[in-house]
């Protein structure tokens, strides 16, 4: 399973419904990820991809689209 597919799987799990965002679609603007789910989402990314997101990287813009999230994960791997 590639990274984007895994990211979307996590989003689906948190949303509790079958969503399929485009790679560059804003997860916040489209309402697919709200402020309260964001913290759980980042924790799930850490677990799934075995990375550690430092406090300094806890910035929403890094997690605003599947493509951005993928880029961030690759920068931390």
């Amino acid at each position: 399973m590639d990274k984007q597919t895994k990211i979307i799987e996590i989003l689906r799990r948190l949303a509790g419904k079958p969503i399929d965002p485009a790679p560059d679609e804003s997860l916040f603007e489209s309402g697919l990820l709200d402020s309260f789910a964001l913290a759980d989402f980042v924790s799930a990314l850490e677990t799934e991809f075995a990375i550690r997101v430092p406090d300094s990287d806890l910035r929403p813009r890094l997690f605003d689209s599947v493509a951005r999230i993928e880029a961030y994960i690759e920068s931390r791997s």
Binding site: S35, L38, A39, V42, D55, L58, R59, P60
Partner: protein
């Protein structure tokens, strides 16, 4: 040792329901309740100030403690919505309470300011005697009730709280505290002198969701505490 000796509070009389706020910011009342968990808030009257709210809370607290203003050795006042750059509300509260000569300190910090005041009071009460800690905010005057400012307008209200911290006795012992500041995210929530409150809600939540549990874990670990044995969590965020 430090103890919480008494608590006090003051809420302005005017109750503001979601049905009043919701149309101003372009949402319905049910959505507002669902998004925030808030059913109603209080708004201060035009003649009230951050200091006057604080005075009412301080008086309530001293009454509950069975103390007079003469028994207070230090006053600490936390507020992020003070009307003046300086003097802060500590001096006005001190004057209204008849506490001339007693050191009065402002903590110009919103949200966690009163917890910082409590933690500082727990250390300073050994040197200064009873420390009266007050937190007071009038946030309704620093937000705008317009759709463009919805994220902040729906969250805040007005009110004040107070406690007395004593070195010798009280209903609860202040065992320990963990204080942390991350100035790297200071822009995430800010109040300029001539602009409404500006908040990046996503960043605030993301930072809080990571750092609050860490601080709780640290203070528990330092004192051989276990989360399962904690009777009450009171979130001051």
């Amino acid at each position: 040792m430090a103890y919480l000796r008494a608590l006090g509070c003051y809420l302005p009389a005017r109750v503001v329901e979601n049905s009043e706020v919701a149309p101003l910011v372009g949402v319905d009342a049910e959505w507002l309740l669902r998004a925030t968990g808030i059913e109603q808030r209080r708004f201060a009257a035009a003649e009230e100030s951050v200091a006057s709210l604080g005075v009412r809370a301080a008086q309530d607290c001293l009454r509950s403690a069975g103390l007079s203003a003469y028994d207070v050795g230090m006053l600490i006042v936390a507020s992020g919505s003070s009307e003046l750059r300086f003097p802060g509300p500590a001096s006005a509260i001190s004057a209204a309470m008849g506490m001339a000569g007693t050191p009065a300190i402002d903590l110009p910090m919103a949200s966690a300011g009163s917890l910082f005041g409590l933690a500082l009071g727990a250390r300073l009460c050994r040197d200064y005697g009873n420390v009266l800690v007050v937190g007071s905010e009038i946030m309704s005057r620093v937000v705008r009730f317009e759709p463009a400012f919805r994220d902040t307008a729906i969250l805040f209200g007005d009110g004040a709280g107070a406690c007395v911290v004593s070195a010798d006795s009280g209903f609860a012992r202040v065992v320990d505290s963990v204080l942390c500041t991350d100035g790297g995210f200071r822009e995430a929530i800010r109040l300029d002198l001539k602009a409404p409150l500006d908040m990046d809600g996503r960043t605030v939540i993301l930072q809080a969701a990571r750092k609050l549990p860490r601080a709780i874990s640290e203070v528990l670990a330092r004192n051989q505490g276990e989360p399962a044995r904690v009777g009450t969590f009171a979130d001051g965020f």
